[in-house]
Amino acid sequence: MTAFIKDTLIGFWSLLAGLGVTIRYFVKPIVTVQYPREKLTMSPRYRGHTEFIIDPETGSHLCNACENCARTCPSNVISVTGVKVAGTKKKRAVTYVLDYSLCSLCGLCVEVCPTKALKFSDEYRLAGFSRQDMIIDVIARLQAQQRALGLPEEVPPVPEAEEAKTEETKGGEGES
């Protein structure tokens, strides 16, 4: 009997103690971020979709269309085509399109790039209305960035006399 009364009192006290915790939090300031009004900065290693690094020397990208990234990608996100630039023996990317809806954010493409042409963008507003919205034209994005920086816009190189090896590109028109 006494044990029962004791248990009841301890139980009742535990409830009051619990109420004490919640009322303490009730008067604490809130911790959530009111998203569209306040924004957080993305972490330095945030993995958004990839974009080209603008090379300070040339003001353009470094991609030589070796397709290492496209081959490494587990989900076939990347389609890249390149042509041999007239006068040099080097290849250069003409199109670089991501189907971001398939991306699993592993970051292998950036790691595998031999010319270190890729980086992660800090774009996080990635919702779209259709699958088409998920197709990202990295070259167009680069051009937009160049315009914003006042650099001369990237002009995709014209193929040499022989016809450029073109590959099937996925999706339709990209947007930035």
């Binding site: 109420l19 915790v21 009322i23 809130i30 959530t32």
Partner: protein, 320 residues
């Protein structure tokens, strides 16, 4: 003839007043619940519609009005339709006797407190009707739970109210308020007050006693199948029930409308909303009981305690 007209006008005005009060009260309480829960959980709650989301509930109400009313195919249609009404009407009736202030009350019945308790019990009937007629196993389980646990909290609720009533010697709510002119009953009856709040929380089916709806177990319990306004009526009834239970607690224990400086109505509402805040605070703090545990709690703790309290009160009255 003139008497009938006057009486008719009085009833009409009261009805409109009550329905208006019920709606505004529910809108306010839902907003308040959101804000209380939000701040307990370190977040701001609704902020977008109106000042600090004050109009959010109205937006939700409009949404609910616009929603399709679904009736399950194999439902017992008549009972299914009646259940929300059976839930809501008794709640309205209770407003007849609640004394908001010395002047603001519809009918000062001699058996006021009995009327409220009698009608509030009908909520269980409504829950049973809703759960049974939905033809949904979750709803049925919810309904059965509700019926099974009724006695566990109804009896101590009545007995604790009884200890106040034998002190006052009247079932009339205004008499009970008048009795507390100098000292509130809660000082004589602290245990009864605590028991009344616990049983009142169970009476309104709110956490930690929200066993008939227990969303993590029974999806939404007895109102799983209800949608649109029918669901909204259950919701409205729940919040109005909270108001009534708190109003009764205010009258029985906290001196009703009495208080210095401020007008009586303000005092009354302040006390009622303070008790409602307490109930919300419970909800956002405690886990839910299992339904047999509520019955155990009722029979092993609440009923003996309330009986002991009643006997002590009776003895005290006899002696002094």
């Amino acid at each position: 003839m003139q008497f009938l007209l006057a009486e008719g006008a009085r009833i009409g005005i009261s009805l409109i007043g009550v329905i208006g009060l019920v709606s505004i009260n529910a809108l306010f309480l839902i907003w308040m619940e959101r804000k209380v829960s939000a701040h307990i959980q370190l977040r701001p709650g609704p902020m977008e519609v109106g000042f600090h989301g004050a109009l959010q509930t109205i937006a939700d109400a409009l949404k609910l009005i616009g929603k399709e009313l679904i009736t399950p195919e194999d439902a017992d249609k008549l009972i299914y339709l009646l259940a929300p009404i059976v839930m809501f009407l008794p709640v309205l009736v209770s407003f007849i006797v609640i004394p908001f202030s010395p002047t603001l009350l519809i009918r000062d019945l001699n058996v006021g407190i009995l009327l409220i308790f009698a009608f509030s019990t009908m909520a269980v009937l409504a829950i049973l009707m809703a759960g049974w007629s939905s033809n949904n196993k979750y709803s049925l389980l919810g309904a059965i739970r509700s019926v099974a646990q009724t006695i566990a909290y109804e009896i101590p609720l009545l007995i604790t109210a009884m200890s106040v009533i034998i002190m006052v010697g009247s079932l009339k709510l205004t008499d009970i308020v008048a009795y507390q002119a100098t000292v509130w009953n809660v000082l004589f009856q602290p245990l009864a007050f605590i028991l009344f709040i616990i049983c009142g929380t169970a009476e309104t089916n709110r956490a930690p006693f929200d066993i008939p709806e227990a969303e993590s177990e029974l999806v939404a319990g007895f109102h799983t199948e209800y949608s649109g306004m029918r669901f909204a009526i259950f919701f409205l009834a729940e919040y109005t029930n909270m108001f009534i239970v708190s109003a009764v607690a205010t009258v029985l224990f906290l001196g009703g409308w009495r208080g210095p400086i401020l007008p009586p109505l303000v005092w009354f509402l302040l006390k009622v909303y303070a008790i409602i805040f307490l109930m919300m605070w419970f909800r956002w703090t405690f886990p839910r009981l299992r339904f047999d545990q509520l019955i155990t709690l009722g029979w092993k703790i609440l009923i003996p305690l309330s009986l002991a309290n009643l006997i002590l009160t009776a003895l005290a009255i006899k002696i002094f």
